[in-house]
């Protein structure tokens, strides 16, 4: 029984990371109706930037903040120069661009930082497991960080004028322009935010899985499964789905399929959701004119 509990608790810790990436995916999806396949690789790249800054001797939280700023700017620039021109392009063009981004980030990271696994420090220290072995220090710390991020993102969208304008721009760009919202700028801001959230997820997961250019491949799959499970149109669903995926992954890995086949649970969930309830737990059914 204690074993199960432990699996659930540590599942919630990784689930928080999936939830962050899932939220980033949903934010982009709501605004553009596309899945940014490069979201994970962008996060990985940001994590390398953080590592570089740490190696240059910056204190952890300074490097953390600088990485956030870097990622935000990177997201904004990507939207402005790459995605903006594709705004009215056919779906396949966008998918191609996203896949291209994925490959570019992956290979540039490998080229700049090499493909060898690198340890990434945790700001919470190693230390003994806490609460009777339930939580490692890093698990506890990263859960607190990811939950704080998710909460502040929620508060930003819910309570600020800018957050409201960004939601409006995502849901109804035409009406947004008519009330004076600069929609393009809002989309760029959304990309920046999503990249920042991803960067935090990357920095939180790297101490657990080690840093290498393929670090986020699995994470992106779990996050995508989580986003679908919660409903791809629902930010709340993304968070709930992401955390659920962390727990499901751990339990399935420990008791059902074994660690080698863990990743298949993500694929099974993706297929199941798409077959049984494509709108997910909290999402809205999408209809489109063809």
């Amino acid at each position: 029984m204690e074993g199960v509990l432990h699996q659930i608790v540590s599942g919630i810790a990784t689930g928080g990371i999936y939830a962050s990436i899932a939220l980033a995916l949903v934010m982009i999806f709501l605004a553009t109706h596309h899945i940014n396949f490069a979201q994970g690789e962008m996060a990985m790249f940001s994590t390398y930037i953080a590592l570089t800054l740490l190696q240059l001797g910056l204190p952890y939280w300074a490097a953390f903040l600088a990485t956030l700023v870097f990622s935000f700017v990177m997201g904004v620039i990507l939207q402005r120069i790459l995605l903006e021109p594709l705004a009215n392009a056919p779906v396949l063009a966008s998918v191609g661009a996203f896949l291209g981004l994925l490959l570019i980030f992956n290979n540039v990271a490998g080229w700049l930082f090499s493909y060898t696994l690198k340890p990434f420090p945790s700001p919470f220290g190693v230390g003994d497991p806490m609460f009777g072995g339930m939580f490692s220090r890093h698990e506890l710390g990263s859960t607190v960080v990811t939950m704080a991020v998710l909460l502040s993102v929620w508060a930003f969208f819910r309570f600020t004028r800018l957050g409201l304008a960004m939601r409006g721009a995502a849901y109804n760009p035409v009406s947004s322009r008519l009330v004076g919202v600069p929609v393009g700028r809002m989309l760029a801001l959304g990309w920046g935010l999503a990249a920042g959230i991803g960067a935090i997820a990357g920095m939180m997961v790297a101490p657990v899985v080690f840093l290498d250019p393929n670090m986020m491949g699995g994470v992106l799959l779990y996050a995508f499964a989580g986003a679908l499970l919660g409903g791809i149109t629902s930010p709340l669903g993304a968070v709930v789905g992401g955390v659920m995926m962390g727990v499901i992954e751990n339990l399935a890995g420990a008791y059902v399929v074994g660690t080698e086949l863990k990743l298949t649970t993500a694929l099974v969930i993706i297929v199941l959701v798409l077959v049984v309830k494509p709108s997910g737990l909290f999402g809205k059914a999408l209809a489109s004119r063809v």
């Binding site: 304008a165 939601r167 849901y171 009330v179 929609v183």
Partner: protein, 241 residues
Amino acid sequence: MADTITEKPILEVRGLHAGYGQVKVLHGMDFVVNTGGVTALLGANGAGKTTTLRAISGMVRTTGDILYDGERINALSTEAIAAMRVGHVPDGRGTFMELTVEENLKLGGYTRRDDTAADLERICTYFPKLKQRFRQQAGTLSGGEQQMLAIGRALMIKPRLLLLDEPSFGLAPLIVREIFEIMRQIIISERTSILLVEQNASLALTIADMAYLLETGRIVMSGPADEIRRDESLRRSYLGY
């Protein structure tokens, strides 16, 4: 009101051409909206009424001149024109379905730097039904309520010029009457200049002071609203009532 009408017009349109890609919809339109007045643009389906409003709001490519308060705004973006306090109640109402009624109205005041709370309160006095559904998702509103919300949202911008695209569209006659009654109050107390586009000419002529008749992208008739209303042969041949 009579003396304000003699001021320079808030909107002056000269030789306006516009369309979508290869399809030309407007073929050289000339009209004015007097400051403080209500101008109606009447015409059948496909005459170019909606396109005219879209042209003013910078949503379609245009040639010719659109002068707003004496300034040519053709090349400006839609959001820049909105920021100059042009309120636009779009065709299809443009509701933010996923947002609440309150958020829809607040978004209407996005361009404003001053406090909008008092205006929110005042606008709700025109539309008590919206006040009742303040925290409800706007997508759950009826068509009439969404039309009220669209008007309220455009009023939040504190418009100097209000563009109204067929407020009667798809609504039951009783609701249409209610909305026009509210618009009458708004015209009296908000003192904003209005360009009203309507298929329902008889209704539009009751609140307009000037009217233009649009046929396939050209103005074919214009005059004071009550004159047009009284001219039976004109009404029969052009307005069909």
